[in-house]
Symmetry: C4
Subunit: 124 residues, 4 copies
């Protein structure tokens, strides 16, 4: 299939819930990036994490094989440094070829579940 999507995507409203209730890792509060690469060739991604009160951190590097979807927990991005829980952040994703990026949120506090998912904003 041909490459679908855009090479730059932005998520402005990140914040990982600071606590979790329930079995890990299935019900760990989290935020995730889902990246779809529809083309045959692998794609290299460079993520920059923006913060409220200090300079951006990056690059975080990701690799997505051809014709694969990859879903990454923001909680697990630790190189060059972990993204703090319960703090506002934003992400800019730069890709070496077109991809589609979606951002998902799960909050397991209070013994329930609250979740949402939104498309990232594509820049042309």
């Amino acid at each position: 299939m041909r490459p679908l999507g855009a090479r730059t995507w932005v998520v402005a409203g990140g914040r990982i819930p600071p606590d979790s209730e329930g079995p890990e890792p299935e019900l760990t509060s989290r935020e995730e990036l889902s990246i779809l690469n529809t083309a045959a060739d692998a794609v290299e991604l460079t993520l920059t994490i923006f913060h409220a009160d200090r300079d951006p951190v990056g690059p975080y590097e990701l690799h997505v094989e051809g014709e694969r979807v990859r879903r990454v927990r923001v909680n697990d991005l630790i190189d060059p440094e972990a993204v703090p829980l319960g703090r506002d952040y934003a992400v800019v994703v730069l890709a070496s070829a077109p991809v589609v990026v979606q951002h998902s949120h799960l909050d397991s506090r209070r013994g329930g579940l609250s979740s949402y998912s939104t498309l990232a904003f594509p820049v042309e």
Copy 2:
């Protein structure tokens, strides 16, 4: 009414919750695709399901009559094969004429309800 929408739509962030609580089918955890065909003529759709760790699967074929909305549970897509619960997937929808595609999620675990719905990403 004239055809509205686009012929290619992408959902990057699919994952059907692995468990459900409550009466079926109303409260079965699920993900769904809603496809609106505003035009008089029927539309043929070809879906490809992308996975994290193996080649894409398809085509899944759907038919939407003219001037109808059709909402399909991803859980019910079984030909050529079922989409596994609790696993990351993505979908590319190719339509024979413009449609609008929305992706919805319902999670009935823990005795509650958590839901979201997002537009798919239209490709031009």
Copy 3:
């Protein structure tokens, strides 16, 4: 302020939860359309409701004053006929001047709350 938005908007994934728990009308399960008219002049809207198994119904007519937001419960659209609870529907909104349209969902079943909101799809 100048008119902002588009004159045609589409929501593909409508379905009003069939039951509610809690005090009405605050916690009645519902879906809503929010329409923002940023311009000085009033806008006239024509809604068409699409169904899964029968012809579209309309026009439903709405009026939004200049420089006002109007949020309408789909549950309350009764002329020419009510939109059935628990059934799939879609909406096409045609406006006499640019507006912005958002679709919201609240489900109060099971003694909790589940909600989401998405931009409608703008057609150019």
Copy 4:
């Protein structure tokens, strides 16, 4: 990084839940605007709040430093006047340079959590 996004953004479907349950401020029911400024220079924002039954109110002024994300509770916008809880509102954001704007909602009524987040609508 270069400026990413748009200079005008619209949220049509605002309404802050009227009540909260749980510790403040972490679980206070709220709506928030997240604004990402990817460029080196600071951005000035002018917000106008639209209401259902009276004239728009503004300007609300915000400042976002270069290379920072800023997340603001709509509940905390008090100059020139507070945004009422439990009432429909909309927001137009005008920025002095491109930004990305996302709108988030958290409802802590009934002892649970319900949340969603959507991109604002970018105007070109």
